[in-house]
Amino acid sequence: MMNHSMKNQDINLASGTMITGKWHGKSYQVIKCLGSGAQGTVYLAHSPAGRVAVKFSKDRSQATTEVNVLKELQKVQGEPLGPSLYDVDDWVARGRNISFYAMEYIRGLPLVEYLKVKGFDWACILMIQLLKDLERLHREGWIFGDLKPENLIVSEPGFRIRWLDVGGVTLIGRSVKEYTEFFDRGYWGFGHRKADPQYDLFAAAMILVYAAGRKRFEKQQDSKKQLLEYIKNHKRLSSLQTVLNKAITGKYTRAKDMRDELLQQINETSSPQTRYYNKPVKPSRKMQQKRRRRKRGWMAMLVLGVFAAGLYILYLKLYVM
């Protein structure tokens, strides 16, 4: 996407390509491309340590920053926050130095895909998991920064939310450099881009907003009012309105508080809606209509039956008596 002089190279590797690091001498054999975006390309590869994900960044400074972040995340106790980092090196190919790093390959379904097939209930559960991890990250003095479905994955087996891309992780007190408009507090006019836990919690709330409608929308004139109204009027979000509003207006200073209240809210609210996963939206609506039509048919039959019975009774009364 960027077209400036810091641009690294566009990488396009065939499966089977061998990559050997210049400094540490480890070798990787490319299996397939896992994904490619504005930031770079990630390949699945064989390594002496098993299957790994190898990332080539378009911008070398960005790659170095990401590696620094992954190293920091590894210091945090408990379940891993980001993918574990295996190796950082340069690959000399065609006379050029191409920097890359190898990390844990997380098997699973990207959150965006997951939300498409599973219901909103799942989004809430995954959010509760996510908030627990965010609490741990915040306690170490960092925030996630560019928190959005694309940077998250639901690992299999186990259905646990994991962090895929941690390029936006920022020290608390510094400025958020990487963000995505829909999930950004600054875009909606709810505050600055200085890293604080509230910045992440705003984005977390927006992930639920996105999951409920399965779409992003643009801000309008009065963006703050627009967003709060949207939540209030949305059938899946209105029950979570209290929690979402607090997160959006920066009332939670800790992820734990948001998690506790969200958990309580979900426990109290049973979902009255029919589950919609695995069913395309349109046909199911049609089916509902059909059902309604059939119901109307039954009603008509019933009325007709009662009417006929009435006539019969009248007939009996008039002729028999």
């Binding site: 400094w23 070398r60 400074s61 920053t65 130095n97 510094r174 400025s175 958020v176 408009e181």
Partner: protein
């Protein structure tokens, strides 16, 4: 350690200049005085004017800055990204210079082993966060830009949010071109925050003049004023008017 101030000119334009000095030459002149020139080319969806795009790239190359061609919609994110990346580029340039002085030959950051590179990058990030920044924003308000100006305004407000979230201090000033009597027209004097520029672009220049080169020349002048202003803080207005 006393950190200097990063100085940038941010040029937002949609097309070819047609009056005065070569804009790339003026950008090179800015670079010589420690000012990086970044260019954002806002284009129409159907526009494929190669010469306009080449001019945009040349200005940034000559000015030691970054160029980016965007469609109007992506402007906000691009403006802050370009400004950021230009800052990093300048800081890395300075650090590479230092490394070469220490290590000799042509050693740059990229020649260091990954572990050391990571340490240097931490310093670059730290400096990018804390260094003071002065940005002179130059907006092309020739007739063809008219429909894009509301988006430009929004992008600049957004830039202010982003940069003011940093730890370092910022100063912005805003000029449009062409101006009435000069190449540029001052819309906003040096200020730490772009708060309300809602009605700033009301006066649009008509006619086909796009004096990009002279506009950059005048933008360079605004920086010498800031350094003088820091000594004579009470006399802002006098120095801002006297430059022409």
């Amino acid at each position: 350690m006393k950190k200097g101030t990063l100085k940038q000119i941010l040029l937002i334009t949609d097309g070819c200049s047609n009056q005065g000095e070569d804009p790339a030459a003026m950008a090179a002149l800015a670079k010589e005085q420690g000012i990086a020139v970044n260019v954002i080319g806002v284009i129409h969806d159907h526009q494929s004017d190669d010469s306009g795009i080449r001019e945009i790239e040349d200005i940034a190359l000559a000015g030691g800055g970054i160029s980016q061609i965007v469609h109007t919609k992506q402007l906000s994110q691009t403006v802050q990204m370009v400004t950021r990346q230009a800052m990093t580029q300048t800081i890395k340039g300075v650090i590479n210079q230092e490394l070469q002085n220490i290590l000799g030959d042509h050693e740059t950051m990229e020649d260091l082993p990954p572990e050391k590179r990571g340490k240097v990058m931490e310093v670059v990030d730290e400096l990018g966060e804390t260094v003071d920044l002065e940005v002179c924003i130059l907006v092309d308000t020739s007739a063809s830009m008219k429909s894009k100006l509301p988006t430009v305004q929004e992008a600049l407000l957004d830039l202010s949010i982003s940069l003011n979230s940093r730890m370092g201090n910022n100063q912005f000033c805003l000029y449009s071109f062409p101006g009435k009597r000069h190449a540029t027209n001052k819309l906003m004097a040096w200020t730490p925050q772009i708060d309300s520029i809602s009605s700033v672009f009301t006066k649009l220049a008509s006619g086909g003049i796009t004096p990009t080169g002279p506009a950059i020349r005048e933008a360079i002048q605004t920086f010498s004023k800031t350094s003088r202003r820091s000594f004579l803080s009470d006399d802002e207005s006098f120095y801002e008017e006297s430059g022409y």
